[in-house]
């Protein structure tokens, strides 16, 4: 939870600096920026280029720094095709150092605020190269790497705004926690992918009592936590209510200092269990019997960065709805196709019933298929008289077609297809 500690300490410093800034002023400051920064779909595959795998819905907050580093070509998007971090927030006047950590990358500016004149660095460079730019104009700067755009090598710099004083939601004293789950909800972590996690974190900050249902319809059965990801304020009691059988709650990870032990006994519908979460941070948990089908959940304790409002926003993880149904339908069809010849051969070779056999007598069968009479040739031709003119004509036609194709291929298609290599 290094990120959280950083956030806390930075926030602590900022609170000290702000001194007696009132909650009203803080709230007004926070209004300027949305909780989860809105990039207008830039990080999805709907914008130009591919989906950005290393953008998890969070904007790394580096406000207050004079210099910020963005690595170009970090491991992401199926290779060394990412900017690290993909989204970063800086204060106006901050110099951002772009440092190449792998080969063949550049920075092409897609969009920037009016009045800004960032031209990027369109020349393709290799590991070891670096380039810096000082961002003065407030707003969102979107950029990408031209050779790897289609793989999702896209990023953004947000200048200004951010959590400059306001935690929002529950007030300025609340620590902020990013809804960052790593790959917890994907099949890369322990167990299967969590189909009922659609990238959004349900925001329940401010409520004293929050309910999470255990065993909701999800993941191909009654194997889900509902909601899969929820954000609550510190001190909130979360009630886990069993709505189907054979589930438990096992803690996978929790912030340092938190002492949540989950509910490891396997229980049935009607059972409930509650825990009050005090320590801010991200808690992940799962149901042991159904881990492999993706029965996993998370609880975020603390306000969203940059104000209250909604949760972490899309994290780039996508659910695959109905995949089980299609897989079984496909497997069924394949099985049927493979069995078809066996069924057909059995059907053809089945014994003829006695009743049918008696109807066709031996005499009738012989009469139905008479032998053909042997024919004598009417005239016999000698070798010299034999003139297969038809065959000759066929050969001549084939020959002409061949010559025509040859002329077309070489003289029209090849020689006429200039320019040609001449040396």
């Amino acid at each position: 939870m290094t990120r959280l500690d950083e956030t806390l300490s930075r926030r602590g410093l900022m609170r000290a600096a702000a001194g007696t800034a009132t909650a009203v002023a803080a709230g007004a400051a926070a209004t300027g920026t949305a909780a989860a920064q809105d990039y207008g779909g830039w990080f999805t595959g709907d914008a130009k280029g591919g989906d950005v795998g290393n953008y998890d819905g969070t904007t790394v907050d580096q406000t207050g720094q004079d210099e910020v580093t963005v690595e170009v070509g970090v491991d992401a998007n199926g290779g060394t095709f990412g900017y690290g971090p993909a989204a970063v927030r800086v204060s106006p006047g901050t110099t951002v150092n772009f440092e190449w950590v792998s080969n063949t990358h550049n920075i092409v500016v897609e969009d920037q605020p009016e009045g800004a004149d960032w031209s990027g660095d369109e020349e393709i460079n290799n590991e070891g190269y670096s380039y810096s730019h000082t961002f003065e104009t407030e707003g969102i700067y979107k950029y990408y790497c031209q050779p790897h755009l289609s793989l999702g090598m896209k990023a953004a710099v947000v200048v200004g705004g951010g959590d400059g004083g306001g935690g929002g939601g529950g007030g300025s004293d609340q620590p902020t926690v990013e809804a960052e789950y790593g790959n917890w909800f994907t099949a890369d972590a322990d167990g299967g992918a969590t189909d009922n996690f659609d990238g959004t974190t349900v925001d329940e900050t401010g409520s004293d009592d929050v309910t999470v249902e255990v065993g909701t319809n999800a993941n191909g059965g009654t194997f889900g936590f509902g909601p899969a990801a929820v954000r609550v304020s510190p001190g909130t009691t979360v009630n886990f209510e069993w709505v189907s059988n054979t589930h438990n709650v096992v803690v996978q990870s929790q912030p340092e200092g938190a002492g949540w032990s989950g509910s490891e006994d396997i229980n049935n519908e009607g059972y409930s269990y509650s825990h009050t979460f005090e320590t801010p941070g991200v808690y992940t948990y799962y149901c042991q019997p159904h881990l492999s089908v993706g029965m996993k959940g998370a609880i975020v304790v603390g306000a969203a960065p940059g104000g209250g409002g909604d949760g972490g926003g899309p994290t780039g993880q996508r659910a695959v709805p109905g995949s089980t149904l299609w897989t079984s339908a496909f497997a069924g069809s394949v099985l049927l196709a493979m069995l078809a010849p066996i069924v057909a051969s059995y059907y053809r070779n089945r014994p003829v019933p006695e009743a049918d056999r008696l109807d066709t007598g031996d005499e009738q069968q012989a009469a139905a298929t008479p032998e053909a009479d042997p024919y004598e040739p009417e005239t016999e031709l000698g070798h010299d008289e034999y003139d297969p003119v038809g065959t000759l004509a066929s050969v001549a036609i084939y020959f002409l077609i061949l010559v025509g194709m040859w002329v077309f291929m070489y003289f029209v298609e090849f020689l006429g297809n200039g320019p040609t290599i001449i040396g």
Partner: protein, 172 residues
């Protein structure tokens, strides 16, 4: 052995066709001046392509009167130059491409023309082309080279000699 006269006829025709095919290749090579990509380019160190004499910093160079050399480096997933900035060459001059790869095997194909070669790491593909007409040719990589292979393309711009900016080239 007696052979039917029709059979003799189509045997002769078949041999004439084979002779004509061979004559065509000879004609293409000697009269039309078509040649193949050779290994004249030599080899380079793929980790540092400009280390040896065989390859220069990627770019367009003037090699003589009406002769230009273009050094192209292909890498995942770009032609340098070509992708980021078009390769600009004058029309009606002899342009020799020297192409090599610094990572994996690529392809270099001017779409719709006979200018087409494989680009192998460490090996310089050398090919001379004369562009008769001005216009734009598109370069595609036609050897699967990785996840964004489909995105690896570039441009060759053929401009009239009087419009060609000699500032763009380095004197040989």
């Amino acid at each position: 052995m007696e052979i039917h006269r029709f059979e003799k006829l189509w045997l002769v025709a078949a041999f004439v066709l084979i002779a004509a095919f061979i004559a065509t290749i000879v004609y293409g090579s000697l009269v039309a001046g078509v040649s193949m990509v050779s290994d004249d380019g030599g080899t380079v160190d793929p980790d540092d392509i400009t280390a040896s004499e065989n390859f220069r910093e990627p770019g367009v160079y003037q090699a003589g009167d009406g002769e230009y050399d273009v050094y192209v480096e292909a890498r995942q997933f770009a032609f340098v130059p070509g992708t980021n900035s078009p390769i600009r060459v004058p029309a009606n001059t002899e342009v020799t491409f020297y192409i090599t790869s610094s990572d994996v095997t690529h392809g270099f194909d001017l779409v719709g023309t006979n200018v087409n070669t494989m680009v192998i790491p460490g090996q310089v593909a050398q090919l001379t082309v004369e562009f008769d007409e001005t216009g734009t040719h598109h370069i595609v990589c036609h050897e699967y080279c990785g996840a964004a292979h489909h995105d690896m393309e570039g441009t060759v711009e053929v401009v009239a000699q009087e419009n060609f900016d000699t500032e763009e080239v380095t004197e040989a």
